[in-house]
């Protein structure tokens, strides 16, 4: 089976001479749930953003769903991004817009510029958005403003947005960091179901190691921009954790 994500010798530096990623090699199969762990500044967020081309890496290659992200022109990059959903620690929803409108943002890549800028979406897209909301347990809240929702509900809206996108890969940047213990589990279960039922590949940067061990099928440890651990969750013992989270190695960028 071809890789969902194939990263070869990926390097990136926001400032010359201060590398954040230093030669990352990573191959992820479709349907895998990969937890990305490491200290703040280890390069987790940058790695995720190289996958969907929000950050253009300084070296190496990143092939996603069979396309080399770095060599795509912006228009093709946008077409590829439709197939890669992303959810965030701060939710990054449009607080003043309704829940449904936020999910419809997942359809922007499929809608012509002028109608979408006038907030006009097809009836099929609206039905799809409502259906996605029902699947994440938010039926009935379509017309609520996002700012009136709880943190857990907001993250569900973000997940519904990636579903409306028809995403084959979902990148999650600390998506459970701002949630309480029970809600973290709810969100991880939702993502796990998404992966199982729709074969969505998940790449999740996480700080919560027990949560990562419970839900991920594979754990990647990133230290100072390099992968130092790559194994099944069972192999993540105290020694491995101590090595990945070795503070002496923090480069202070990320």
């Amino acid at each position: 089976m071809p890789n969902a994500i194939a990263i070869e010798n990926l390097t990136h530096a926001y400032k010359p001479g201060v590398p954040v990623l230093r030669g990352v090699n990573l191959h992820i199969q479709p349907g895998e749930i990969v937890g990305l762990i490491g200290l703040s500044g280890a390069g987790k967020s940058t790695l995720l953003r190289c996958v969907n081309g929000l950050v253009q890496q300084t070296g190496g290659s990143c092939t996603v769903l069979g396309q080399a992200v770095e060599s795509l022109p912006e228009g093709s990059k946008r077409l590829l991004r439709r197939r890669i959903g992303m959810i965030f620690q701060e939710f990054n929803l449009m607080e003043r817009l309704t829940v449904r409108k936020n999910v419809l943002i997942g359809r922007l890549g499929y809608t012509a510029t002028i109608p979408s800028c006038l907030h006009r979406f097809s009836a099929a897209d609206v039905r799809l958005a409502d259906d996605c909301l029902a699947q994440v347990g938010l039926a009935g809240l379509e017309m609520r403003r996002v700012r009136d929702l709880s943190g857990g509900q907001k993250q569900r809206v973000a997940i519904a947005r990636t579903m409306a996108q028809g995403a084959e890969i979902v990148l999650a940047d600390e998506a459970t960091a701002n949630l309480d213990v029970l809600t973290k589990d709810d969100i991880m279960e939702l993502l796990q179901n998404l992966s199982r039922e729709k074969k969505v590949t998940l790449l999740l940067s996480m700080h919560d190691l027990p949560l990562a061990k419970r839900y991920c099928t594979r754990i990647i440890g990133l230290k100072s921009g390099r992968i130092t651990f790559d194994a099944a969750p069972d192999a993540l013992d105290d020694e491995a954790i101590a090595d990945v989270l070795d503070r002496a190695s923090v480069p202070g960028a990320g």
Binding site: M86, F88, I105, L108, T113, C117
Partner: protein, 259 residues
């Protein structure tokens, strides 16, 4: 230690400067005494003191209706024209990463320098070009509004958080979609409140520029004072106070709805 000495010297210099200002103005105290003596009389004349005065004041109403509308029109036209010009310019004055730094620096420097010029001065500069009347007032207000709103809109754009922009881009959104879905919802309340504040100020300004001949109630007030028609002046000032407060109230309500 050096910092402390510098702070002390700066504080002392500031104190000397303030005392110097007071002393300079204080030497003109005879003017204040004169003013208190005669000014009281003038002030009293602004108000109706008899039934005949009240009847006269009420009769003034229809004559002032047209200038009052003109004052509002100047403020509205100036605000809307300034807003429409400021909107596109704010994009080349904002540090959002899409415009080269030197361009931003030039536009910002121009806006900062032009902002130092009060609306009244623009009115005086426009009079030779457009003549006396409401058009001049509207142009002057439009220029001042454009300059202040361009800067404020640019600051609003700079304060936009990048999270929602990343979210829309990561969903495959293009630049116009990023603007409409990620930026506009963030800047709209700021745009609206700064524009409404600007309308409130412009209403006062349209009164003031009228005094130098740009039409409206300001011009009527100027005429009344020059002809010593104190009661007329009083009625005009009362109208302005009522008008400004009505607009302030509605502006406040609208801002509250969208905050």
């Amino acid at each position: 230690m050096l910092n402390r000495i510098l702070s002390f010297l700066f504080g002392a210099a500031l104190l000397v400067f303030v005392v110097w200002c007071f002393l300079a103005i204080g030497t003109q105290v005879h003017l204040t005494k004169y003013g208190l003596h005669h000014g009281g009389d003038y002030f009293a004349k602004l108000f109706p003191r008899s039934q005949a005065d009240w009847r006269y004041a009420l009769k003034l109403g229809p004559d002032l209706w047209q200038p009052l509308i003109e004052t509002v029109q100047m403020a509205v036209v100036g605000t809307v024209a300034g807003m429409l010009l400021a909107f596109p310019v704010s994009f080349i004055a904002a540090r959002t990463g899409s415009v080269p730094g030197p361009v931003i620096a030039v536009v910002k420097t121009f806006l900062n320098m032009a902002r130092a010029v009060p609306t009244l001065i623009y009115a005086l500069l426009v009079i030779p070009l457009a003549g006396l009347g409401a058009q001049t007032g509207a142009i002057a207000i439009g220029i001042a509004t454009f300059i202040s709103l361009a800067k404020l809109y640019a600051e609003a754009l700079e304060s936009v958080s990048v999270g929602p922009i990343e979210a829309v881009r990561s969903a495959g959104g293009n630049a116009p979609q990023v603007f409409v879905y990620a930026m506009l919802p963030q800047v709209f309340p700021l745009y609206l409140s700064t524009t409404l504040y600007s309308l409130e100020y412009n209403l006062r300004d349209s009164f003031v520029v009228g005094i130098v001949g740009a039409g409206g109630l300001g011009q009527k007030l100027s005429n009344a004072v020059n002809l010593f028609e104190w009661l007329d002046a009083g009625v005009i000032i009362a109208l302005v106070i009522v008008l400004v407060n009505i607009v302030d109230y509605f502006s406040y309500r609208v801002r509250k709805v969208f905050s």
